[in-house]
Structure formats: C-alpha cells, structure tokens
C-alpha cells in the first residue's frame, strides 16, 4: 500500500478526521434542531462524552454464537464506514485511491444490513419490528440510490470514483446528486424517514438489547455514516480544478452545509409511516428510472 493510501485511510479523510468529524456533525444536527425549536441544545463535546460514558458501562454477559454476532454487527459497520470514507475521492486530481463506485456503494450499504441483522439476532420483539421496518425501507430507498449512481455513471461514462468526482455541467450528474440527497435521510434514519428507530413506538428498535461498548460502536457508526454520505455528495459537487487545500476545505464546508440542510428537513417534518415512505421512494425511483433510460438512449444515439 502506498503512502498516499495510508494517509487517506488513517489521516484525512480517514480515521483521524472522520471520527471527530462524525461527532461534530452529530452535534451540529442536534444543536441545529434545538435552535430551530427555540431550545439551547447540547454542548459541543456531548457526543464525545456519550461515547466515553458508554465505553465504561458494565454490560450483561451473554454466551454462545449470539453474543459474538451481536458484537460483530457494530464492528462491521464501523469498519465498512471507515473504508468507505477512505475511498472518497476528496482530491480528484489523482491523489487518492482510484476506487470504484460499486465498491463504495457496497460499503455504504453494510451498516444498514448490519442494523437489520442486529435487530433479528437480538431476540427481542422490538428488534424484530425495527429490523423489518428498516429492511423494507432500505429496499425502497436503495432503488433510488442505485438509480442515481447509475445516472451519474452513465453521464460521466465511467464507474471510477475519481472520474465521477468533480461537478460537471451535465444535467444528468446533478439529477443523480439530487437523487442521492433524497436517500440520505432514510439512510441516516432522520425525520421524516425515522420509522425504524421510532423511540415512542418500538423502544429503540433493533438496538434495544445493546448496551455499553457495542452501543458506543453503533453511535460511532452513525456518526461515520454522516461523514461518508455527506462527504460522497460533497465530492460529487466540488469543482474539478483547484489546489488540494481548496478541495479539502470545500469537502468539509459542503458536508457541513448538507448537515444543516438535513437538520432543517428533520426539524420541519414529522415521521412518515412505512407505507408513505415507501410510496415516496417508489415515485422518485420511477422518475429516475425514466431519466436514466432517456439519457442512455440520448447519449447512445447522439454520440
């Protein structure tokens, strides 16, 4: 592995940047929602305090394969998220990994799958209901997500991330970015798509039986999901030319702008029922599917 790859994995935008950035974005969302409700909101280091406190809890001892599986899911989520963040083409001028969009999508999918499996292996009825909701919502929302990626790939004529990055003037590119932005609230379980972790209804859903360090890992995975998803959209909109520090700065600023946008949407809406959420995504999936097919045909016969 070359030095640049190691820097990407451990320094920026990898582990050392992503973990504090994840905590910062989680704090940003909580603070923004609080301010929009005329409250004060938590102090800046709150996610850090929560994380350290959860590490210090004494959890019940479980035995058997179930115990190992329950510990596996959050660890897998965290690792896949760090991998996804490391793969992000923050510096499109060839300084990063020349990775593939398909691998990125697979890595971004893993936390959702682990969440569902955690709900089923936890053996609690609330976990099962939450996992079912998350599974159904994930099917609907992945349709839009994958169609958006395909739209961008078709317009850029490549699946390589470093070529997809950089805002181009193709309308197809921007339609794809819009589609990805539509999916992010469902992936992050924010209002209005927070039905799988509906506290008032299902007592924390799939994470009901988690405690202590495993729960801390879930919260960390959630923070890293924020960084990965908003970072992905940020890399798709950054202008292609410019010095490396401009790209890094734009990455952070664009991610945080999305955090604020998503917080506003979360504060302004209530929770959709599962039916309504699925219908929403299927409609957008239909629109995007039509656009992808049209743009493919257009490009095939035009160029």
């Amino acid at each position: 592995m070359n030095v640049s790859g190691l820097i990407h994995f451990f320094l920026f935008p990898g582990l050392l940047f992503a973990v504090p950035a994840g905590w910062f974005y989680v704090w940003g969302e909580r603070k923004a929602v609080a301010r929009m409700q005329r409250r004060i909101g938590p102090p800046l280091l709150q996610p850090f305090y929560d994380f350290v406190k959860l590490l210090g809890k004494r959890t019940p001892s479980r035995h058997g394969i179930e115990a190992d599986l329950l510990r596996l899911w959050p660890a897998l989520s965290v690792l896949s998220m760090i991998g996804a963040i490391a793969m992000l083409p923050v510096f499109p001028s060839g300084r990063g990994f020349s990775g593939d969009a398909v691998l990125l999508v697979a890595l971004l999918e893993l936390p959702s799958i682990c969440f569902i499996l955690a709900g089923f292996t936890s053996g609690s009825i609330y976990g099962e209901i939450g996992a079912i909701r998350e599974a159904v919502l994930s099917v609907a929302n992945n349709l839009v997500f994958l169609l958006s990626i395909v739209t961008i790939a078709v317009t850029e004529r490549t699946f390589r991330l470093s070529d997809m990055a950089g805002g181009s003037w193709n309308p197809g590119h921007w339609i794809g970015v819009f589609g990805i932005l539509l999916c992010i609230p469902a992936k992050l379980r924010l209002n209005p798509f927070s039905t799988s972790s509906a506290e008032q209804e299902i007592y924390s859903g799939p994470l009901t039986e988690y405690a202590g360090a495993a729960l801390a890992m879930w919260e960390l995975a959630h923070g890293l999901e924020w960084v990965a998803l908003t970072g992905f959209v940020a890399t798709l909109v950054v202008p292609a030319s410019g010095p490396w520090w401009f790209h890094a700065l734009f990455f952070v600023v664009a991610s945080f702008a999305q955090v604020m946008l998503l917080s506003t949407i979360a504060a302004a809406t209530a929770r959709f029922t599962l039916q309504r959420a699925i219908r929403f995504y299927w409609r957008w999936a239909a629109v995007l599917a039509v656009l992808v097919v049209c743009s493919t045909i257009y490009m095939r016969y035009r160029w």
């Binding site: 609080a34 005329r38 004060i40 504060a267 302004a268």
Partner: protein
C-alpha cells in the same frame, strides 16, 4: 411552507430556555412548600393530623407533652392542614422542598407542652387574609380534646 417560516423566526428570536443550572425563584407568595410549625404557639390540637389525606402529620400525646411529626416525603402540599389550623401556627415555606437521599431524612419532630391558646387567635398578617374565610365557617365533628373549642373570634 409555514413550518419553514416558523423555523426561520425561531432561529431569529433565539432560545427561550432557562440556562441551567437554574435557581428557582418563587414568584408567588402563595407557593406551597414545606410545612413549618411554630412550636411556641402550637397547642397540639391535632386538627392538622386529622385532615391530612396522606397522614404526613401525626400528633401523639404522652401526658402533658405533644409530639408533632411531619414527614415531607408523604406530603402532597395540599394545604388542608393550614386551612384547618385554628391557632394559625402552621405555614408553608415559599420555596421548593429540598431533595433527599435517605428515606425519612426530612422528618421533623416537635415536642411541645400543652398550653392554652392565645385569645383571640391572632394570625400572622398574610395568613389572616388567606385563611379568614375558611376559618370562620368551622363545624368540626368530634375532634381530639381541643383547647380552642369555642368559635375563633377574629
């Protein structure tokens, strides 16, 4: 888009929350806090124990001394004891009752000697205007031996 306008207004107007830790200020002098008994003037009639719905106040007698016990842990802060207290020795603090960690930590015990009440029953100024309408319509059924059986003359 009303909600977006509301959100924008909220952001401009700022938070309404108290900055915690917040020291509670009782803005009303009729705030119902802990019961305070004036041991010098209490006659031990036991009316407060009789009307207390939760038995937070107990009055026991041994010879010439009365023991008045009050357990704030059981108290509902309803104020019935104040309304019924004829010599007007009970009053309520106007601040929040304090927290405690051991059961029975806040129990107050007063021992007093049986005495004649002050005639006429003179109430502290604020208690008089609060309790005068209630105290003047007394028709108590059989009560523990009370030194103030005659109607209170205000």
């Amino acid at each position: 888009m009303n909600i977006l306008r509301l959100i924008f207004q909220n952001l401009c107007r700022g938070p309404v929350s108290f900055r915690l830790p917040h020291k509670h200020e009782c803005t009303s002098k009729e705030y119902r806090g802990l019961i305070v008994n004036d041991a010098e003037r209490c006659v031990g009639c036991g009316l407060c124990a009789y009307v207390c719905p939760t038995a937070a106040i107990e009055v026991t007698r041994s010879g010439e001394t009365y023991r008045w016990t009050y357990d704030p842990g059981k108290c509902t802060f309803c104020g019935r004891c104040l309304e019924r207290c004829k010599p007007h020795t009970l009053s309520m603090e106007s601040q929040l009752p304090p927290l405690y960690s051991t059961e029975g930590e806040l129990i107050k015990v007063l021992d007093m000697v049986r005495k004649r009440p002050v005639r006429p029953a003179v109430a502290p100024a604020s208690a008089a205007e609060k309790h005068e309408p209630a105290a003047s319509t007394q028709a108590m059924p059989s009560t523990p031996p009370a030194a103030c059986a005659e109607p209170a003359v205000e």
